[in-house]
């Protein structure tokens, strides 16, 4: 028996733990375990009085190890380590047993829960005996930051950091920054012109000396860890030299070929093959769409090159993709969202009935710089509708598609209704909703305004949109069939135009993005935040932050707030200059190493070097991230991970099995 003096503290966590676990019993039982000097239970161990208990016991009773059985180490490991430190103990002489998330919250069975609490506490008691004193390692923070995604969240984050004097690499997949907000006409509830409030920020981001703008680029590879990331970015060939191009647009004018713009105009309008997504695009340089370019496909044309007025010529057909490597300290992901594909719900007729539009199509239609110059017209591009139905919750709040509420659709549907009233004053507008969800500053007032404007609100999820008329007045119209649940009767509303309000969903490649950046994404594809309430911009991976709609459906103000919050977090870290890292590191016993070099190539951080002269491998502590790969790989078993040594882990396992393990004598007998 060693001569350690262990203090064990069992937390009630109010009633969170004490409701199911008999904490008095666990504390009394723990007091009888070997090496345990003092065992207490307390209502809230994390309170300052609870921490004082630990501190005083260390000083008065000379405790050398501390065990706290309470919540998850994610919550309070740091709190209790600091308490140990204040008492004069090395913070790593502490072990936490999770008897809340792993025990009391999972069951109502009091006997079983108490038994498990004893097992978990005992595991910690037996483990903590083997703990060693460790020192935290400082890691320097590279002051540069990578922002992925040039929508409003990414632009805000980049500008906040750049204005604070820090360098930012802003990477955007499309030819221009601006994101979805650039496609919109008006923003709810104040009806500001979207472009008027967005383009100044885009210009700022484009011209800022502290921002390196990398549009038409994608992140390929991410290495490293907080403070020291190395990122490879593929800069796709634009076929336009950005140094020589003046952005005069003559090439776009002269290009003889039009294609349908599926991205920016949502299929509502055309663009040239050499194009700029929209007039205010940042940067101003055009891009050649290689797949549709006649020169690339057939070898003839080159009209853009012929008419380019710059000297030397800006068009470079032989341009190749470039791979850039940048070093950054932190990464902010603001990769945004896409809209639900409305063709997945066949009864709404999108793609089959011509006058059924999606929200983004309507958004482009009402935009003054859009394909119809802001006129609301049917697919024939000339008839103005006399009646319009707007269908909420397309693909959201539906177990068959997305279970979540997409949050912004009620508000943008109201905005659509207002825009129809504004542009076609005598049109009838029907909003078919399940529940009107307008939480937000000025949002409910906007709903009231629409009620006053005379929009017809029908509470009911639309069952189907059809062109099969049953009555003469339905001939040639789209019929929206819906139960008006407030009347309790099925209604068939004949209209000229139907607008679907599709849900926001995660980007189609969000799972790959989360793997690329080594952080989590949920079942719906949205990135997982560190804590849903208290840490919505951080992720489980240090140094990787998230902002905007990639975290969940969000409107413009929320995206901007998150972008700025993520930037503030990064700015704080950069200001500190260093971050303290867990001293969980691998080390190789130099005397026993056989020099087999198996671990060398296993290490994902390239932290192991081989000394050819001595024929041994060695871990560079500054680079090691403590992942444990080499520890498991070493055939001689002589690599050990600090704070996760074999002694510690095996005694923890032994400890948790205290009630089923055979007595030591039995084993030897």
């Amino acid at each position: 028996m060693s001569e350690e003096k262990i203090g064990v503290y069992i937390c009630h966590c109010g009633t969170n733990i004490a409701k199911v676990v008999d904490v008095e019993d666990v504390a009394e039982w723990a007091g009888n375990q070997p090496n345990v000097e003092v065992s207490r239970e307390y209502k809230f161990m994390c309170s300052s009085l609870g921490q004082d208990l630990i501190e005083e016991d260390i000083k008065e009773k000379g405790l050398t190890r501390i065990v706290v059985s309470s919540c998850s180490p994610h919550m309070h490991e740091k709190t209790f380590r600091t308490a140990c430190e204040r008492g004069g103990l090395n913070p790593f002489m502490f072990e936490m047993a999770n008897i809340r998330e792993h025990d009391s919250w999972t069951t109502d069975d009091e006997t079983a829960a108490t038994q498990k609490a004893k097992a978990l506490t005992n595991a910690a008691i037996e483990r903590v005996v083997h703990h060693e004193a460790l020192e935290q390692l400082p890691v320097e923070i590279n002051p540069n930051t990578l922002v992925v995604g040039g929508g409003i969240a990414g632009i805000t984050a980049a500008l906040e950091l750049a204005d604070g004097g820090r360098h930012v690499y802003l990477v955007e997949r499309e030819p221009s920054i601006g994101g979805h907000m650039a496609q919109l006409d008006k923003t709810f509830p104040t009806l500001d012109c979207s472009a008027c409030i967005l383009t100044p920020k885009m210009v700022d981001a484009g011209q800022h000396p502290n921002i390196t703008l990398l549009t038409w680029s994608e992140v390929e590879k991410v290495d490293g860890f907080i403070g020291n990331f190395t990122v490879s970015i593929r800069k796709k060939a634009r076929y336009v030299n950005e140094e020589h191009c003046t952005g005069c647009g003559i090439c776009i004018e002269k290009c003889p070929f039009n294609v349908v713009d599926d991205i920016f105009e949502a299929g509502m309008g055309d663009r040239k093959v050499i194009y700029r997504p929209f007039p205010q695009a940042v940067p101003k340089y055009p891009v050649i769409d290689k797949e549709n370019c006649v020169y690339f496909q057939k070898g003839k044309c080159k009209a853009c090159e012929k008419f380019c007025p710059t000297e030397p010529n800006s068009i470079e057909f032989d341009q190749q993709d470039e791979i850039l490597t940048v070093d950054v300290g932190n990464i902010i992901l603001a990769t945004g969202f896409q809209l639900f594909d409305s063709t997945k719900i066949p009864q709404y007729g999108y793609g089959r009935l011509p006058n059924v539009f999606t929200g983004i199509e309507f958004e482009r239609m009402v935009n003054a710089s859009g394909p119809t110059d802001g006129k609301i017209v049917l697919r024939d591009k000339k008839t103005a509708p006399k009646s319009v139905a707007i269908i909420h919750c397309v693909g959201s709040r539906d177990e068959n598609y997305h279970k979540y509420c997409s949050k912004i659709c009620c508000m943008y549907s109201l905005k659509f209704a207002h825009l129809v009233h504004e542009r076609i004053p005598d049109a009838e507008v029907y909003n078919c909703y399940i529940d009107m969800r307008t939480p937000g500053k000025g949002y409910e007032e906007f709903y009231n305004r629409l009620l006053e404007e005379g929009t017809h609100f029908i509470r009911g999820k639309v069952a189907e949109v059809t062109n099969a008329a049953r009555k003469p007045e339905e001939k040639g119209k789209l019929i929206v069939q819906v139960e008006d649940t407030l009347i309790g009767r099925q209604r068939r509303v004949p209209v000229d135009m139907v607008i679907l309000s599709p849900a926001m969903e995660a980007q189609p490649d969000s799972k790959e993005i989360s793997q690329l950046f080594k952080m989590g994404c949920d079942f719906d594809g949205f990135f997982t935040e560190r804590h849903p309430k208290l840490d919505p911009v951080a992720t489980m991976t240090d140094g990787i932050l998230i902002a905007g709609a990639c975290q969940g459906p969000k409107d413009v103000p929320d995206s901007v707030a998150q972008g700025a919050a993520a930037a503030a977090r990064v700015a704080g870290l950069i200001n500190l200059g260093t971050v303290m890292m867990e001293p969980v590191r691998a080390s190789i016993n130099q005397e026993d190493c056989s020099g087999c070099r198996i671990c060398n190539n296993m290490c994902p951080y390239n932290a192991i070097v081989f000394h050819a002269d001595r024929k041994v491998s060695e871990v560079i502590t500054a680079l090691c991230q403590g992942c444990g790969t080499c520890v498991a790989a070493c055939p001689s078993g002589i690599i050990s991970g600090a704070h996760f040594t074999n002694d510690q882990l095996f005694s923890q396992i032994e400890g948790i099995l205290w009630d089923v393990r055979p007595e030591k004598e039995l084993v030897s007998a």
Binding site: Q347, R397, E399, G460, K461, Q481, R489, Q490
Partner: protein, 187 residues
């Protein structure tokens, strides 16, 4: 410990084999009533029926004709955003009503359903000449004659059997029915 189950619990119990989600997860969106092709003949829409079941309004639920008019097209079940099997709910209420004999004597639905099931269980096939009289007497003379005329025409064209036919291996079928009808199958 044992308390009498509420009406909504009784109906939920009848849905134990249904693939749908629990009735209490209904969000009252009205997709079912909006999709229903026969809703105009119902005195309560399917959505309201579910609301009334959840509110334990037993008398009102059993009094209405909604579930008897259900055409079992399953459109509501397919579209329901809460994935409730609404057509199955209709069957559950029908069964409840038949077992407890809560329906009015002049209602055609229960007799029709029962005769239909009996013919199926007896021979493995539906036999219209037996089924039709169960509801025909609720119609006027003119309609009855019309129906009879149509039936004759169909028989002449071979679209309707003159004599009841049986399926092969009827015993196996009857054994299956005994398993799947919780009350013990054909009597």
């Amino acid at each position: 410990m044992a308390t009498k189950p509420t009406f909504s619990q009784e109906i939920s119990n009848l849905l134990y084999a249904s693939h749908g989600k629990p009735l209490k997860t209904c969000i009252q969106c009205g997709t079912c009533s909006g999709s229903c092709p026969v809703v105009d003949f119902m005195d309560q829409t399917p959505r309201r029926l579910i609301g009334m079941i959840n509110a334990d309004l037993k008398e009102d639920v059993l009094d209405c004709n909604t579930y008897w008019f259900c055409a079992s097209c399953y459109q509501c079940t397919v579209r329901c955003p809460a994935q409730i099997d609404i057509a199955d709910v209709m069957y559950a209420v029908k069964r409840y009503s038949i077992w407890h004999k809560t329906y009015r004597d002049d209602l055609v639905g229960p007799t029709f359903s029962e005769t239909f099931v009996k013919t199926i269980v007896r021979s493995g096939r539906s036999y219209e000449p037996l089924l039709a009289p169960t509801y025909m007497f609720s119609m006027g003379i003119k309609e009855v004659l019309q129906e009879a005329h149509m039936a004759t025409q169909m028989m002449l064209k071979g679209r309707m059997p003159v004599l009841p036919t049986k399926i092969k291996r009827l015993d196996n079928f009857k054994n299956m029915i005994r398993r799947i009808i919780p009350m013990g199958g054909a009597k």
